[in-house]
Symmetry: C2
Subunit: 386 residues, 2 copies
Amino acid sequence: MKGISILGSTGSIGKQTLDIISRFPERFCIVGLAAGKNITLLKEQILNFKPEIVSIKDKDDAIKLSKELKSESVEILWGEKGAEVVASHTKADLVVSAMVGVSGLKPTLSAIKSRKNVALANKEVLVMAGSILTLEALKNGISLIPVDSEHSALFQALRNSKKEFVKRLILTASGGPFLNLPKEKLADVTPEMALKHPTWHMGRKITIDSATLINKALEIIEARWLFGIEPKYISVWIHPQSIVHSMVEFIDGSIIAQMSIPDMRIPISYAISYPDRLPMDGNYNMSRAFGELSFEDADRGKFPALSLAYDALEEGGTMPAVMNAANEMAVQHFLKGGLKFLNIITVVKQVMDLHKTLTGDSLDEILESDNWARRTAESIISGYEN
Amino acid sequence: MKGISILGSTGSIGKQTLDIISRFPERFCIVGLAAGKNITLLKEQILNFKPEIVSIKDKDDAIKLSKELKSESVEILWGEKGAEVVASHTKADLVVSAMVGVSGLKPTLSAIKSRKNVALANKEVLVMAGSILTLEALKNGISLIPVDSEHSALFQALRNSKKEFVKRLILTASGGPFLNLPKEKLADVTPEMALKHPTWHMGRKITIDSATLINKALEIIEARWLFGIEPKYISVWIHPQSIVHSMVEFIDGSIIAQMSIPDMRIPISYAISYPDRLPMDGNYNMSRAFGELSFEDADRGKFPALSLAYDALEEGGTMPAVMNAANEMAVQHFLKGGLKFLNIITVVKQVMDLHKTLTGDSLDEILESDNWARRTAESIISGYEN
């Protein structure tokens, strides 16, 4: 029986993880859950999965939940510290890190330091603190297992291969909903348009990131840290069908690819069952052949977001964290309707240009730069807003 | 230093194997070579690679070669027994089995019984005696490493996966040169037309087998034995670009595929270097994205050769050997111009229909059925010839 704690249990990945776990009660038990503000859903999850411990963002919600669940034996905590306690609970073998953005950083580090294997869905924590997290993972002898479909594909394709045999990683990108939209029309893109992803159903933030392609930039940085591969050996190919989730090219000319229908439950199931595989039901099978698949090199001129990743990695230190934070702010304002679609990447680039890079050797430095980037982005965005 | 013996050194696979080995003199040395009738090329190979032992098909050629190579220290043998001695030479770590057809059977078995790992290019030996060979491989604790591009792909995709996680194997087929030719035009296909394969450069026999698609039937049987997978879990998809060489679908809906440009040197290099990979030069790399790849389920109505494989495996025993032998005869007659293209599969089916299946537990029974099938095919073919 594998004990699992989920950080971000009421989000898109958290819900899908629980859906899979509910189908395999003989293999998994839920040890802990940490959530944000969705108290109704968290309560339902507690009653269904009977965790030992949960944590919710706000103290008031924790108190409310405690009252409503008086008869349950669950321990109820709150805030970042609460999430850290959930992440390090002694009965957890694996922690699913699926909080959105910076809030997941300290709890994820907590899980690693408590020698838990981590199924990592929160790519931002690796973008911000990849060097620190991968070093801690190595020191503590734990596995960072990717949940992102692209990195799960790379992880599966690389499995047990020595790094000396790897020539490069090829990340695939659907190109998002606006792949074939003429550039002049991008100016008029609304949040409703950007939230309609052609192949994947995901959370709101990542769907917008896919439309701007900065999601792929974050994934380049994530891949660099997860697999210890230099950025120049990471390529991006546009593949609109989202069937091939990524590939590894080896020194002998062989490419190993992982494919599936685009459904996050597949990489989630692999991350929680690794090194085994779970029998998923018929809907996940390729009952018929793929049809047509197409691939083309991603043009960094056409997709300026990609260049930001290579620039941020070349600069190193706190720059990737700044890129990530500026993007979070810009996406928030775009979703609220205050920032135009095309200005999301412009804002990120402007904030990066203004940043004086620090080494990023400590979490404090990273969080300080993250904060600086948010404030700077806000101020730049206010200039764009009417 | 890995000692390698090659059975069939003057054939297409043999020559390409030596080409690769010549580029890595620090990793490989040639222990033995066995060849058929090409005495000129064998002599050249002896002078270049300095093997300890060689064997050639005919005694007269062996005597001639001995005279011409008086100053060399190489031991020169002949015939099937000679090839068996080459296959079991004490200094060989790996034997590349690349003779065409039935002639490779006993030498390959000899290699296995002498506890050599075998890089298997001769799929007919597995088709004929898959049960015997795989049992001997298991008993002797050796690896059968496929050289065929499709099976190399499956081998790479399966690597280290437990069989319980495999849902099915998906063999890809280019469909050959006549994929889009209307059926009525197939009647007029000449050997010259059939020898022009759209994506692969291979030997003559296998090129014709690719045009009739019986090559894919042989590969289904080969996969069944190499990977111990029931035939009903082996599918065929038509994939005209020959980039995806085959795939494994797992129980969780993940498909792992191996891809490369269509060049036999890639799977050969993997077979001789496994579990490592050799750095092949730039020509083997995917410098640009694939472009369009297409896949469709292979229709057994349209490709009757595929059904023969499932029929032969269901019947079991000596039936696959009979299918293979009848096909060898039919292809010979087609290449000589005496049999029409469409009648190749008809002849194979007729011989199979006439066969009274034996258990196939002994090599003698298999070779007897092989002989019977050749005689029967000859007699049927003479009825078709003008």
